[in-house]
Symmetry: C2
Subunit: 319 residues, 2 copies
């Protein structure tokens, strides 16, 4: 199918949701237009502030995301929402299960909401999400909220793609320990104790404060992650959360941290794309038959997988 | 440190747990002896039957694993257990949290239990688990049980490394839907409804039967995944589970499926190792400075990540 990439990009910048959707679909899949689209987007990116939201199921991630959308809309900002579900094979504009709250914003032209599946993607999350972020950025979103719908190790990956990472907890879920176990406690720039009207909210905040050593002395100018209490379902604390985000952003800009983070993010992105390209080249060069022949020798015990990999790589880099 | 690889392998084959532990540590990390170890193991592998156990938290995976260990021990088999936790940074011989039941077997010389973390591994699960399986196989384990401790997409990956995949469910957990959502329903060769003494066990089995279309006609000779009801904590149904596993194994051997699965597994393993090697080569060739320079141009908008990746790959394959 013919695709007029410059026209699509132009329409996306005007805020037309169909053009944005089309562009994300083009960069998500292995479209022949992928490279044209990415080249066209490059000079238009860098304006968006990317906020990642992570936390265990039940802490109120989608409610908090929705509350943040409302807050940023009141400030006149254009907002993009990327809901990433690493376990789902479904991608696209459809809203997932408990994301119905988001439908509050579905008719607002200043909000673009996209769900994204990463299961089955060659490079998984590391490959798919940055490209969608790039489209939303180029389309003129001021703020992009990236929320994981699933659980697990991918959360850390999501966080690494954000300018600011928000880690959400809720009282009485044993979340402190869970989060520590999953390694997500270290990644927060801002912490939220949601459902703060429930018993145990203060205890959760204290536990968090203790685990993160927030009471300890820091070098002057270092960032001290704030803990914000919210009741996202009623919009309570959302203004304080936005304030904390903006403070972190200002701190990053002042100290050059924002540019450093974005450079590190871009470097990882390049590496992932390069490795994916090499992986495809392995498949192209050798075909299934060659790889199968090596695999059969491994199963037969006459070759070990490292020696087999050496043969594959040698074939690749000498050609 | 000097490592006498042939002596270690010999000791592992005699069933000495320290030698097995040492070998797994060597293949898990980036040891300089990795290649020697893998080459020494190659001709000794292929004897073990690898069973993967997956399922949501709370279905009784570790209890079921423990019950299977007991059953196979009664049959005089040597058993290896690999408990993989994709979210944990801790690897080694230590038993994890609720795996204390496993301590029943800790003093049995015919059982080797190993917990394995994959967070932080370059190639993650796909890279780390097959190598540990290879060590246990070469060490003379007749059966290797691979159990995920965590949750999420890695379960499918674990299952892809097993000869037979067991998917566990429990009544009244909404597991049917959860499993379907996570995509693990399709991967079972054998299904277990554990905690079958609870209300709703029959309903869960029926729901599963329906979702999998097990009632539908199949081509003669096709495998029809059985649903086994167990109460693993009391060892009930474990013999039936072992029988179902052995039936699946016999069916795979008869139809050549076992060899095909193992070949496919080895092919994926080779590919993962090759890609990891190329990724390391990218890092070696260009150094951080080169990659950072490309990344800075991306952040500045003068380059897109695909064009940057092309530059990286070109540098790699022309050298």
């Amino acid at each position: 199918m013919m695709v007029d990439v410059p026209a699509l990009v132009e329409q996306a910048r005007e805020g037309r949701p169909r053009a944005v959707a089309r562009l994300i679909s083009l960069v998500e899949g292995a479209s022949p237009h992928l490279r044209d689209v990415m080249a066209a987007l490059a000079p238009l990116t860098g304006g968006a502030y990317v906020v990642g939201l992570t936390g265990s199921p039940g802490v109120g991630k989608s409610t908090s995301t929705s509350a943040l959308v409302s807050a940023y809309r009141r400030m006149g900002k254009r907002v993009g929402v990327l809901a990433v579900d690493p376990s789902s094979p479904f991608s696209g504009g459809a809203l997932l299960g408990d994301r119905v709250r988001m439908s509050d914003h579905a008719s607002d032209p200043g909000v673009y909401i996209r769900s994204m599946a990463t299961r089955g993607h060659l490079g998984g999350l590391a490959w798919a999400a940055p490209q969608a972020i790039r489209v939303l950025d180029a389309a003129g979103c001021d703020v992009i909220l990236v929320e994981t719908v699933g659980v697990g190790q991918s959360e850390v990956e999501i966080a690494s793609q954000a300018d600011t990472s928000v880690v959400l907890l809720a009282p009485g879920m044993g979340d402190g320990i869970q989060a520590a176990k999953a390694g997500i406690l270290e990644i927060g720039d801002v912490y939220v104790v949601n459902k703060a009207d429930r018993d145990g909210a203060d205890a959760t905040a204290r536990e968090l404060n203790h685990m993160l050593g927030l009471g300890e002395a820091r070098a002057p100018g270092d960032w001290r992650p704030p803990i914000v209490k919210t009741v996202a379902a009623r919009g309570e604390g959302t203004d304080e959360l936005v304030e904390a985000l903006e403070k972190h952003r200002a701190w990053m800009e002042e100290r050059g941290v924002l540019a450093d983070r974005r450079t590190a993010r871009a470097a990882r992105e390049v590496e992932t794309i390069a490795v994916t390209a090499l992986r495809e080249r392995i498949a192209d060069l050798h075909g299934d038959r060659r790889l199968t022949a090596l695999a059969e020798r491994i199963v037969g015990g006459s070759l070990d997988p490292y020696a087999a990999a050496d043969e594959l790589v040698a074939g690749l880099t000498n050609s």
